[in-house]
């Protein structure tokens, strides 16, 4: 019974998806707007149900609803709601509104499953549901050649990654005899022989599948093309919710199933993180397309999140999960805002190049302000959310002894600012060639306002989000007996950092 209640949000979300498809078929008046609103409302309903629901193991232990899943579900559902409202301005998808929102809802369901998954089976199902849904959504812009290309690329890369992941799941099964995390822990034991080479094989393949999902280097190359080609709202969803979903899956897999083998997977995560931060930021410099730039920036952001994930290797680390949760939140607000600005500008000017933003401050002060908030938040400038979030991520990384990653991350953030500021230059500093006011559909405006407010709110008063993250961390904590509580001085020794002399009188 508890399980059924816990499953209620998932079921309702399926219902919402089916409902909008059905309503579309029934020719509801003011379709697009209406369906978007219904989807958003549905998302909120699901959110409420989710939070009302019990903490329980689902599917007899294959998945679970707990603080962790609820925190991430909130990210997904908020993203869904904002994207649903923000999509309303989009002509390109207007024709297939029902299908659009329906598949979006199904993808969200997949993400929720991924966050709840406590077995590779559930994780795989969730991730695939999302990927397959998104493969369709990316191709939804029927008038856009790029949309078709993006879809085919996502399909090719996604299919290979998915096959790899499935193979990897098989290997993990081969090692442990199961893919349920808590039983994997038991099967592996804590010793060195408990982690045979075969596990490397499985681990690498699973991480490849999830790395594709979070667009971490070297699994990232699809992202810029897909983000650029996809309908902008869909890009927003992929870049935030889908990335967060992958991150949630990865985090739970690594921390719960392989929590004792942190030193084993740490090098992989470190390499991914380093590569993502460096390549993502460097490649973003050279971009002229705004969405593409956001894509590369998103790759880099994934790298930042991986810093915290890398920090989670150490049994004593306390912040990693919480930091990732919080960052997923703020990144959703911020990046959806960014894409929606691109969306609004593209609707009006027909171009999503950075140059199309030129003189935005004259054409639409609100959009200009939004883009500033978004860019500065991404760049980690206070008092916006990105600042606190990144600090938290780095703190988590440091907590796990990842001094190198933190240093590189801090340094490369400066490079990142270069391209963020270049956009700010176009949008806010330069004067437009054509100063006519830029029309902004009201729903998009509302969505943007939510994004901006969210970004600022998290930045100014991060406490609720931090505690949300801490709840999520607590949900994963029982599987980590060695995890120390806040305030213990023990931590991995750094050069010269570890020793603490007695207090001065």
């Amino acid at each position: 019974m508890i399980e059924l209640r816990a499953l209620l949000p998932h079921a309702v979300l399926i219902g919402v998806g089916l409902l909008v498809i059905a309503l579309d078929i029934l020719h509801v008046r003011r379709r697009f707007c209406c369906l978007g609103a219904i989807t958003a409302a549905g998302a909120f309903l699901v959110l409420v149900l989710d939070w009302q629901g019990p903490t329980a193991a689902l599917w007899q232990g294959l998945a679970a609803t707990d603080g962790f899943s609820r925190a991430f579900d909130t990210v997904f559902l908020l993203s869904l709601a904002i994207v649903a409202i923000g999509s309303v301005g989009s002509e390109k998808c207007a024709v297939y509104a029902g299908e659009y929102f329906g598949v979006l809802a199904f993808s969200t369901l997949g993400l929720m499953l991924a966050a709840s998954a406590t077995s590779l089976l559930a994780l795989y199902i969730g991730v695939e549901l999302t990927t397959i849904g998104l493969m369709g959504l990316v191709g939804f812009a029927k008038t856009e050649k790029r949309s078709a290309e993006a879809a085919v690329k996502l399909f090719v890369v996604g299919a290979v990654a998915s096959a790899l992941a499935l193979y990897g799941a098989g290997i993990v099964y081969g090692v442990a005899g199961t893919t349920e995390y808590h039983r994997v822990v038991e099967a592996l034991g804590t010793g060195r022989e408990g982690f045979p080479w075969l596990m490397w094989l499985g681990l690498a393949c699973v991480i490849a599948g999830l790395g594709f999902k979070i667009a971490a280097v070297p699994f990232h190359l699809w992202a810029p093309d897909v983000y650029e080609g996809a309908p902008t709202a869909v890009s927003a969803f992929i870049s935030t919710a889908s990335k967060a979903g992958g991150m949630a899956g990865l985090l739970r897999f690594l921390v719960v199933a392989l929590g004792h083998a942190g030193d084993r997977w740490l090098p992989i995560v470190v390499v991914l993180s380093l590569g993502s931060m460096l390549l993502g930021n460097l490649a973003a410099i050279a971009q002229t397309n705004f969405k593409r730039m956001l894509a590369y920036s998103g790759i880099a952001q994934a790298g930042y999140m991986l810093v915290a994930v890398a920090g989670a290797w150490a049994p004593s680390s306390t912040m990693a999960v919480s930091a990732v949760v919080m960052y997923a939140f703020l990144y959703a607000f911020t990046n959806i805002g960014g894409f929606l600005v691109a969306h609004a500008v593209a609707e009006a000017t027909g171009s999503d190049d950075i140059a199309a933003l030129r003189g935005l401050h004259k054409r639409s002060p609100f959009l200009a302000l939004t883009v500033l908030v978004v860019l500065f938040s991404l760049g980690g400038i206070p008092p916006l959310a990105g600042f606190v979030g990144k600090l938290y991520l780095f703190a988590a990384g440091w907590d796990g002894g990842q001094v190198l990653l933190v240093s590189v991350g801090a340094g490369i953030s400066v490079v990142a600012l270069y391209y963020y500021l270049r956009v700010a230059l176009e949008a806010y500093i330069k004067d437009p060639d054509d100063a006519s006011p830029l029309p902004l559909a009201r729903p998009v405006g509302v969505a943007l306002a939510v994004c901006v407010l969210g970004t600022i709110a998290i930045g100014v008063y991060p406490r609720p989000w931090v505690s949300l993250g801490e709840q999520a961390a607590k949900a994963l904590a029982p599987s980590l007996p060695a995890r120390a509580s806040v305030g213990t001085p023990e931590k991995p020794t750094l050069t010269g950092a570890g020793r603490v002399l007695p207090n001065r009188s």
Binding site: V157, A204, P218, L221, L279, A284
Partner: protein
């Protein structure tokens, strides 16, 4: 070294504050249009009050006056504490008198001279500010205050030289004066730091004690240097300041240019008082220089700071005098003569000890009067000739004694005093200096006075050099002084303007007359019973050496006679001084190439250094920054090419990366666990 038992009297603050206040008031008046005329009266009264206060507080040798002590000006923790106070001892008292007197007369004179000038009140504000600073310097009780006022005097001089700022030459001269003296000030400041850190205090007495302790080896001077080096370096550093301020070789180049300022300014600050600051400072710290020679590790030429002072003074005196020979600008002649006389004072100080102090102060006082007189007279002439193509040029003058009898007369007195002919004031003081040097040189038989080691002064050989220079310069001085007078006042007018010149108004001639009086009598009066010397030093001054007096007088007369012979008759042709040997003339008229050295070597080098550093900053330091930026962007463009657009290449990367991760990890594990399982 006298021990003073000071009497505290806050009234002494008035010496500094009243002129300062008047400067502020005049400055405010300068902002108005109507009340400008009141400024000179206010500032004159201010200076007068300062003088009166000083007069009523005449300290004796054993009894100084101290201003209010407890003015804590700056305090850092408990250790570093600067309190302001004024201290009127006998040395300061003399100096205050000179400053006030000259300043007052110059201000009165300026009422007439500057009438109708733009910035009339501003001018008097500057003058008064200058007076205040100079008085502050004189009555300073510690090194810090001395330095503060020292700099303020400098900036006042900047403001006054650049008073006619719209003239590019004046603007440049002002800048030059300040910058060149600033070079010396760096030395002064360093010396100050050395000394105050070693002493843990700025106060003269503390510093003095510390210096004695260091000299006797009771205290380690500094980690930077040994006590010996300390004792040698610190006085020299301090002396650097004096070199700048008192226009000694090689920093004398600013003073002739400073004549770009209004003539009364030249009279006041570039002849009578400000340039005397350096001399005054060395005199004030004479025990320090003396001590350094006592403790000097070795004796010999230039081994001790006093030698250096003496040589610098001598060189300065000689160079400046020779240059003065060939100048045609009336103020330039006087300027170089000032430098030369300052050299004399330095020579006297170089002789060391209280005797040197007293002698140089003696010359300082007499010189202040007659040089102020000369400058004011020159100003009077210039004022009268303001229609001439160049009112300063002696070659446009001639025969002015008929048109301007008062000026001619007073100027004549000044000239004679400058030349050092008895019984005018210059004679007495110069004679004292020459005598002192000869005594130190041992020309009178006894090399060392009975007081013993403290009497040690400059090296006898160096002193001999100084004595010789003094005698030579006496000749030269007499010559150029008389040359000046004859060119200006004798003969017939050589320009239209000169024929139409008029005597200046009474407000200008009155100060001339007033200054002429001490120019005539001050020397005799002060020398009588060694008034000043006895007042300043513990000992009774050395009696006048008749031989010296005779020799000096003869030499001066010789110089004067030559000038009379050459210039008495009006000549329309070339200036007779051009007839001297060519190389010498070139050397003199080119100012011994010192000026050229500064303007052609030092200044451009500095500026070049500036532009080089600026270039390097632009292109190397900033260039590196920009190159880094560009490099990163370029890397970005390279990285970008990874995404070729071909979908399968993306997938290939994924597969390859996964395989690579597995292979690498397995290899690593294998290596770590020592082989394949």
């Amino acid at each position: 070294m006298s021990v003073l038992a000071p009497t505290a009297d806050p009234v002494l603050w008035l010496i500094v504050l009243v002129p300062l206040f008047m400067a502020v008031v005049a400055g405010i008046l300068a902002l108005t249009r109507r009340l400008e005329g009141a400024a000179p009266y206010l500032t004159s009264i201010g200076t007068g009050i300062a003088g009166l206060v000083a007069l009523t507080h005449r300290p004796s040798r054993t009894h100084g006056y101290l201003g209010h002590v407890d003015v804590s000006w700056l305090q850092v923790w408990d250790r570093f504490h600067i309190a302001l106070s004024v201290h009127l001892d006998h040395l300061a008292w003399v100096m205050v008198g000179v400053v006030c007197a000259v300043s007052l007369l110059v201000q009165v004179y300026s009422i007439g001279y500057m009438r109708g000038e733009r910035g009339y009140a501003r001018y008097f504000a500057y003058l008064s500010l200058f007076t205040a600073s100079m008085l502050g310097l004189v009555v300073a009780d510690n090194l810090f205050q001395l330095y503060v006022c020292w700099e303020l005097v400098g900036i006042c001089s900047y403001l006054l030289i650049g008073f006619w700022w719209h003239k590019p030459s004046a603007a440049s001269a002002a800048k030059k004066a300040f910058v060149v003296t600033r070079f010396g000030d760096v030395g002064f400041m360093l010396g100050l730091l050395f000394l105050s850190v070693a002493a843990g205090s700025f106060g003269f007495t503390d510093v003095q004690h510390a210096f004695a302790r260091i000299g006797s080896g009771a205290q380690q001077a500094s980690t930077l240097m040994s006590n010996e080096v300390f004792l040698w370096v610190v006085p020299l550093l301090l002396f650097c300041g004096a070199v700048g301020k008192s226009a000694q070789f090689p920093l004398h180049v600013w003073l002739p240019d400073a004549m770009e300022g209004p003539t009364p300014v030249s009279a006041l600050i570039h002849a009578a008082t400000m340039v005397a600051a350096g001399v005054y400072m060395v005199a004030r710290l004479i025990w320090l220089f003396t001590w350094s020679s006592v403790s000097a590790p070795l004796r010999g030429p230039l081994a001790i700071p006093l030698d250096v002072i003496l040589v610098v003074g001598a060189v300065t005196a000689l160079i400046a005098a020779t240059i003065a020979l060939v100048q045609n600008d009336i103020k330039k002649v006087l300027a170089y003569s000032t430098i030369s006389q300052l050299g004399f004072m330095m020579m006297a100080l170089g002789a060391g000890n209280t005797a040197g102090q007293a002698t140089s102060m003696f010359h300082l006082v007499t010189h202040a009067f007659f040089k102020a007189l000369l400058f004011l007279a020159a100003g009077s002439v210039i004022h009268a000739l303001h229609h001439a193509p160049d009112p300063n040029d002696l070659r446009y003058m001639g025969g002015l004694r008929h048109r301007m009898p008062w000026t001619a007369l007073t100027c004549g007195i000044g000239v004679v005093a400058l030349a050092g002919l008895p019984p005018f004031s210059g004679f007495w003081s110069k004679d004292a200096i020459a005598g002192l040097l000869m005594e130190r040189a041992g020309w009178f038989g006894h090399r060392m006075s009975p007081e013993g080691v403290l009497q040690l002064g400059a090296d006898p050989d160096v002193a001999s050099f100084g004595a010789v220079v003094a005698l030579v310069v006496t000749v030269l001085t007499a010559f150029y002084a008389f040359r000046l007078w004859f060119l200006a006042f004798a003969g017939t007018p050589r320009s239209q303007a000169a024929t139409q010149a008029h005597e200046s108004p009474a407000v200008m001639t009155l100060p001339l007359v007033l200054l002429a009086v001490p120019s005539v009598f001050a020397g005799w009066w002060l020398h009588h019973n060694s008034l000043l010397e006895a007042y300043l030093t513990n000992e009774h001054g050395a009696p006048m050496h008749l031989t010296v007096a005779v020799v000096a007088t003869v030499l001066a007369l010789a110089g004067a006679a030559m000038a009379v012979r050459l210039y008495l008759k009006p000549s329309s042709g070339e200036d007779p001084v051009c007839g001297m040997p060519r190389p010498l003339y070139a050397l003199f008229s080119n100012l011994w190439y010192v000026e050229a050295f500064w303007s052609a070597a030092v200044a451009p080098t500095l500026l070049k250094l500036g532009s080089t550093v600026a270039w390097a900053d632009r292109n190397i330091v900033d260039g590196t920054v920009r190159a880094t930026g560009r490099g990163i962007v370029r890397v970005g463009y390279e990285v970008r090419r990874m995404a070729s657009g071909q979908a399968q290449s993306y997938a290939t990367v994924i597969v390859a990366a996964t395989v690579a991760v597995i292979v690498l990890l397995v290899l690593y594990e294998a290596a770590a666990s020592g082989g394949m399982p």
